[in-house]
Point group: C2
Chain length 361, copies 2
């Protein structure tokens, strides 16, 4: 069986690495043959929404999926109807727009920060009057890893922030004084089976995920997060892995965004859970039984960003697993990650400090 | 960095799957492009000892290794001296001949069954007179998975067995009334660092490995096996993974054979040990720090031989990991394996029985 994957970044690469032991074949579509996925599987090089490229990607595939939420919705429409595409295009469409996302969350009873659509400076002033300051002004589309955002702290910030971001549809979101950031990742198969991983706690820096620890054991929050995931699964008639990122504010979950794909905050599942998110995504879109999602211990994942640390120093640490994506180093770029797994949270945190010391240049 | 691998069977495929997360590239050499390795990495198709093929394999590689011990020694001699080849050719040469192997074991103080070289029926009779019956008559070279062997139980068996196997150099080995079969797998790096996995217990049927359980915890046997491994490492100035298979007879180890490569009896290390044998082989031949070899729990590995079982029935079991090699089904052929890991030996054995029930046609 063959899986076509739109996008050949590290997420696609790790999907193929999870699928090869199941005898699955892969084909990618991306702009560069030397992309992380293209280094380990055949790749069609071209634009995501080029009809000919999409046809060559899908030819002979049993299913098509995507690993990147900025794939144009129009690209998915070009996939021949004989080849199923999961997750559903509607989930992709909603996830591409912060306004649609929050409107859907609200409709499904999933708490979000206060928000207002903003297209003009006048609308921004009205939105700020309603929501208050501080607040976050964001582009509705094409933001990731902290790009396309400004924090408004005082009235004088409005005009410069609007000048920097405006010209495209924006959203103003109430500032959440969160205690933590967590995410839930789960899968629903085409057969309707669902599983969720334990909540993970995430630490961001400059808008980029730096570190994840899991499991984040708060039974009430876990139940709430799984309930939210379930509502989205049902709403979309979903198949594949789905992620929701939350703030934890005064003990309750406030939804920030969703991603209709495998997610950086669940890379720890490769070594730290009974079945990885990548394998479960594949099982889900193929309609196979889902794998067990429980944590095997206490895991942490650290992203390797911008420059590669000394490889041997990391490899010499027991219980540390290195994942390098085959990308050229560049400031702010995710080049790899390492995962560590320990029997207790305390041992995990101790090992994490040792890893972090080795990551400092 | 790029690793050239002579042979593109499942062992080569699993080497590449272990190396991709470390950003290693691979190139295989084997007779068929559709071999398990060739399905997931570039492959040079041709004969192992074809000088042109070897040159194309080695071009641009940082190291060459092999995944199959029936590679002609002459093939390794054709690798350009600018590209190191590990494990050493001398280990390959010895492992290809049961007589050389046992002579070396004896020289290094590693107990073997009684043995005699046999080239004629007359020599066979003399050997039987010395060693007694029952005994095993084997071809010295090119035997694997039980091929090229006959058990001699009575005098009348000699002539037919010799007729079936003779014409090539043979070895007669004393019959070992073993209690168990175990194997040790370990690695030595080009930097001289060594690690050994816990002993594994193996069950063969029709000369083919059927099942492995690990760790097989007998501290005295573990120490003895590691001592033997260390002597072979030193003798060869070894780099890479090395396997020794033993009989356990009245509480002591009797060496049966060695394999200068990753081994079926350590497939359990992918999920069942801190670092897999495949990753450690790569680290060893590249001179990187070796990874921790301890067991993470209690594991069992079951080979999928001849026909593929029902995939979904296996995937539905928690803690079972499926590995399929992408080969066409054929009687006696290893098509894949599954590994299961549990917290206790008892839970492992219970899960193993559930797996075995699902494997019966």
């Amino acid at each position: 069986m063959r899986v076509g994957v739109i996008g050949a970044g590290q997420l696609g690469r790790m999907l193929a690495l999870a699928g090869y032991p199941l005898a699955l074949g892969f084909r990618f579509l991306d702009s560069s043959a030397d992309s992380p996925g293209g280094q380990i599987a055949p790749i069609v090089t071209g634009a995501f929404d080029d009809a000919d490229c999409i046809a060559r990607l899908a030819a002979g595939c049993d299913v098509v999926t995507y690993e990147f939420e900025n794939v144009p919705v129009t690209a998915l429409a070009r996939i021949p109807t004989s080849v199923p595409c999961h997750p559903p295009v509607e989930a992709l469409r909603v996830s591409q727009d912060r306004l649609y996302e929050k409107e859907l969350f609200s409709r499904l009873g999933i708490v979000t920060p206060a928000y207002r659509s903003v297209e003009t400076l006048r609308e921004l002033e009205i939105a700020v009057a309603a929501i208050g300051l501080p607040a976050m002004l964001k582009t509705r589309r094409l933001g990731y890893d902290g790009r396309g955002q400004r924090c408004l702290r005082r009235a004088a910030d409005l005009a410069p922030a609007f000048a920097a971001l405006g010209g495209v549809p924006l959203i103003l979101e109430g500032f959440v004084r969160f205690d933590r950031e967590v995410s839930i990742v789960g899968a629903r198969s085409t057969a309707g089976e669902t599983r969720a991983y334990p909540l993970a706690e995430n630490i961001h820096g400059d808008g980029i995920l730096r570190e994840t620890r899991a499991p984040f054991k708060r039974p009430a929050l876990q139940r709430a997060a799984e309930r939210h995931l379930g509502r989205l699964f049902d709403h979309f008639g979903y198949a594949g892995v789905l992620t929701i990122e939350f703030f934890v504010e005064r003990g309750r979950l406030v939804a920030n965004e969703m991603a209709p794909r495998v997610h950086n905050s669940a890379h720890w599942t490769i070594e730290g859970a009974a079945t990885s998110q990548f394998e479960n995504h594949l099982r889900a879109i193929l309609g196979w039984p889902l794998g067990d999602t429980r944590a095997l211990g206490h895991a942490a994942m650290v992203n390797l960003i911008g420059t590669m640390p000394d490889r041997d120093a990391l490899l010499a640490l027991p219980d540390v697993h290195l994942h390098v994506y085959g990308k050229t180093a560049r400031t702010g770029r995710k080049l790899g990650h390492c995962t560590l797994v320990a029997a207790t949270a305390r041992d995990r945190d101790r090992l994490l400090r040792r890893v972090q010391r080795r990551l400092r240049p």
